[in-house]
Symmetry: C2
Subunit: 352 residues, 2 copies
DNA sequence: GTTAGCACTCTCAACCTTTAAGTGCTAACG
DNA sequence: CGTTAGCACTTAAAGGTTGAGAGTGCTAAC
C-alpha cells in the first residue's frame, strides 16, 4: 500500500508529538492541535491503517499510539523537519572551541562535552581509526630499568605511547641507535600494515631483534582503540528522559556504557562514507541495546579525520535536534581546523 | 552509658545480619538464629536501648531495626570479624597480577578490576599524587607544526606527557638544545615545588623564555590528576545490591561517578598514614553522597607509592569482605613489586 | 470518503480490608 | 532486678473493588 500524503502528515505529527511529550498520542489530540479540518474518527481510521503498515503500535486498546522503530527510520528519512540552533547554542559552540589548545586528544573531550550539553543526551566519542594512518616517526626513549618509552607520530599528528621492555644490558647510546634504525624501517608505513611487514622486519634485524619484536607487538595493539580513546560525557543526562525512570532500562544502559570496548564497537560503524548514521533499537547487527538509539557522525576537515562522535539515548530521541547539533558541531570543527591550517601555512611562509 | 558485652554482641549480630540480608532485623530473628538462650523480649529491651544510644533506627514501628552510620563505624572499629579469602579468590589475584607488564598505568587497571570482581562493588583507583615525586628527566620531542611533545620521567617511573607549543621558527636542533637546558633546571626538583622556582627559572632563561613558560604551565597542571589517572571499574555492579532498585539512588550514584574530578576528590583523602580508610555516608567533609560508603587503601611497596584504590557502594556494605580484599590485594601487590625489584637488582649486578 | 455516536476495553487512582510482622508495655516470675 | 510471657497497638504490603477517564473500533448515516 502506498502512503498517502495525509498518512505521512499524520505519522509526522505522531512522531513529533511523541518525541516532545513521551505520551502516547491519541486521535483526539491530533485533531485538536494539528489537523483541525478533519474529525477524530477520520484520523482514527488512518491511525489504524498506519498500525497495520507497521509504523505504529499501542500498548493497550485505550492507550493512544506510539511510533515503532520503523516509523522513526521513515521519519528521519522523509518526514523530519530540520531545525536551526539558537544563536545562544551557536555562541556556546564557538566559545567552547575557541579557547583551548587543540590536539586531537583534547579536542575530542571538548566536542563530546558540547554535544552532550546541547543535545541533553549522553555523548560518546572515539578517536579516528589508527589503521589507515602512516607512521611519520618513531622513537624509543630510555627509562632505565630495562624499559623504554615508545613514541609514535603518525601523519595525523596523533601520538600514542607505551612502554616496552628492552634488554637490561642495553645502553642509552645503543637504544638511540636502535631507535633510529627501527624508525627508518617503519617511517611511511601504514599502522594497519605493520602485520604484513612483520616477517621481513624481524628477519632483517638480527641485532635488535628483541626490541623489534616488542615494537611490532606494540604497534599491532594500536589497531584497537585504547580505553582512553573512547570518551563518554554526560552519562547522568539519561535521567532527564522519562524512559529511564525504570531501573531496568538504566541497568541496560549503564551496563552498555560501562565497557569502553563495547562502546567502541557500537559507535564505530561502517562510517566511511555516511556522514550521519542512525541506529535505532536492535538493528540486529551491533550490540546496541534494544531500547536505545545511537546517532553518530564522523568528522573530518582539511583531509584529516577528527574522530567519530555520537549520542546514545532512548529510541524516542529528539532526532531533529541531535542531527542539527551534530551537523553544526561538524561545521564549527571544520572552520576551526581550516583556520588553523591557514595560520600554520602563513607561519611556514614567514619561516621561509 | 557504657555498652555491656551483650549489647555489643547484639549490635554485631544486627549489623552482620543486615549486611547479609538487606532486611531490617527483628528481635525474633536474633533469638532464633543467634542468641537462643534469651527470649525475644529481652533482646527487644536491648534493642530499644541501642536505639536510644544512636546505633539503630527503625523506619516504622513494626519494621525491625537497621544500623545507623554510627553503628557501622563502631562495627568496623571493634566488632567486625575479619575473614579470609577463599583459595579461589587468592588464585584469581595471583593469575591477574602475574601475566602482564606492570608499569603503573596498566597496573592500576588490573588492580581496580580485581577489586571490583572480588568485592562485587564498583571500584575506583587513582594514580599516586605526583606532587611529591621528583623529576628525573624531561625531554621535548619535535612534532612539527610549532608543537612539541613534553615527556617527563619522575623518580617513581610514572610518565606523563602533553603537547606544548613552541615558536614556529624553532628548528629541531634548537629544540633539542632547549630540551637539554630546561631538563637540567628541573632535574631533581619535586613536581609540587615547580611553582616555587618559577620566577627564578623564567628570569634565568632569556633565550627560551616562551618554551620555558609552556613547560612550567604544563608541569603545574600535573599536580591535578588527569581524567585518565582515575580508573573506574564495575559501575554496573551496583545493580547487584538491592538499594539500587530505586532510580533515585542510581541517579545519585551515577552522577557522582560520572565526573572523574569528583571521584578523585572522593578517594583522595588524607591517607598519608592511614592504611585503610572508611567514609560512611555524609561524613560532612567530602562530597561522598549521603547514602554511600567509600573504603580506600593506599598501596606502596618498595618505597614506591602505587596509588589509592577503593570501593564505592551503599552504606550497607560488606565491610569485612571489602577490607579483606583490599588487604590481600595490597599484599599481593607488595610481593609483585618486591620480586620485580629483586630481578632488577640481579640484572644490574650482571651488568656490572 | 467522512463523520457522529456509542459500546467496549483498559488504566489509574482511591479506597478498603486483611494479613503478617514486629514492637512497646505491663505484670508476673525466680 | 533482670527476665519473660502475653497482649494491645502500629504499620506496611498485598489484594480486591470501584468509579472516572481516556481512547479505540465499529456501525450506520451523510
Amino acid at each position: 500500500m502506498k502512503m498517502s500524503d495525509r498518512k505521512k502528515k499524520i505519522l509526522q505529527i505522531v512522531v513529533d508529538e511523541y518525541i516532545n511529550t513521551a505520551v502516547p498520542v491519541s486521535s483526539k489530540s491530533i485533531t485538536e492541535k494539528h489537523l483541525t479540518d478533519v474529525s477524530s474518527a477520520t484520523v482514527r481510521n488512518e491511525l489504524a491503517s498506519l498500525e497495520e503498515l507497521g509504523y505504529l503500535t499501542q500498548f493497550h486498546t485505550s492507550g493512544g499510539r506510539v511510533p515503532s522503530p520503523q516509523a522513526y527510520r521513515f521519519y528521519i528519512e522523509e518526514l523530519m523537519e530540520r531545525g536551526n540552533l539558537s544563536s545562544q547554542d551557536l555562541d556556546y559552540i564557538e566559545r567552547m572551541f575557541s579557547s583551548k589548545s587543540h590536539d586531537v586528544e583534547h579536542l575530542i573531550k571538548s566536542v563530546s562535552e558540547v554535544i552532550s550539553e546541547l543535545t541533553d543526551y549522553t555523548s560518546v566519542a572515539i578517536t579516528p581509526h589508527a589503521e589507515a594512518e602512516t607512521i611519520r616517526s618513531l622513537s624509543l626513549l630510555p627509562c632505565g630499568d630495562g624499559t623504554a618509552l615508545l613514541v609514535i607520530m603518525t601523519s595525523e599528528r596523533i601520538l600514542r605511547d607505551s612502554f616496552i621492555s628492552i634488554p637490561e644490558n642495553m645502553g642509552e647510546e645503543e637504544l638511540e641507535n636502535a631507535s633510529k634504525m627501527i624508525g627508518k624501517i617503519f617511517a611511511g608505513k601504514e599502522l594497519g600494515k605493520v602485520k604484513e611487514v612483520e616477517e621481513e622486519a624481524l628477519s632483517d634485524f638480527g641485532q635488535y631483534r628483541q626490541v623489534m619484536r616488542e615494537v611490532i607487538d606494540a604497534l599491532k595493539l594500536y589497531t584497537r582503540p585504547r580505553d582512553e580513546d573512547v570518551v563518554l560525557t554526560g552519562a547522568e543526562k539519561i535521567f532527564n528522559h522519562p524512559e529511564y525512570e525504570d531501573v531496568e532500562n538504566v541497568k541496560n544502559f549503564l551496563t552498555v556504557i560501562s565497557s569502553k570496548d563495547r562502546l567502541a564497537d557500537i559507535i564505530e560503524g561502517e562510517n566511511d562514507e555516511i556522514q550521519i548514521n542512525v541506529k535505532i533499537g536492535s538493528s540486529g547487527d551491533s550490540d546496541v541495546p534494544d531500547d536505545c538509539s545511537v546517532v553518530t557522525a564522523t568528522y573530518s576537515a582539511g583531509g584529516k579525520n577528527l574522530g567519530t562522535y555520537g549520542v546514545i539515548g532512548p529510541i524516542r530521541m529528539d532526532y531533529p535536534k541531535v542531527i542539527t547539533v551534530l551537523e553544526n558541531v561538524g561545521k564549527a570543527l571544520e572552520d576551526l581546523v581550516n583556520s588553523k591550517n591557514k595560520d600554520r601555512k602563513d607561519g611556514n611562509e614567514r619561516k621561509k
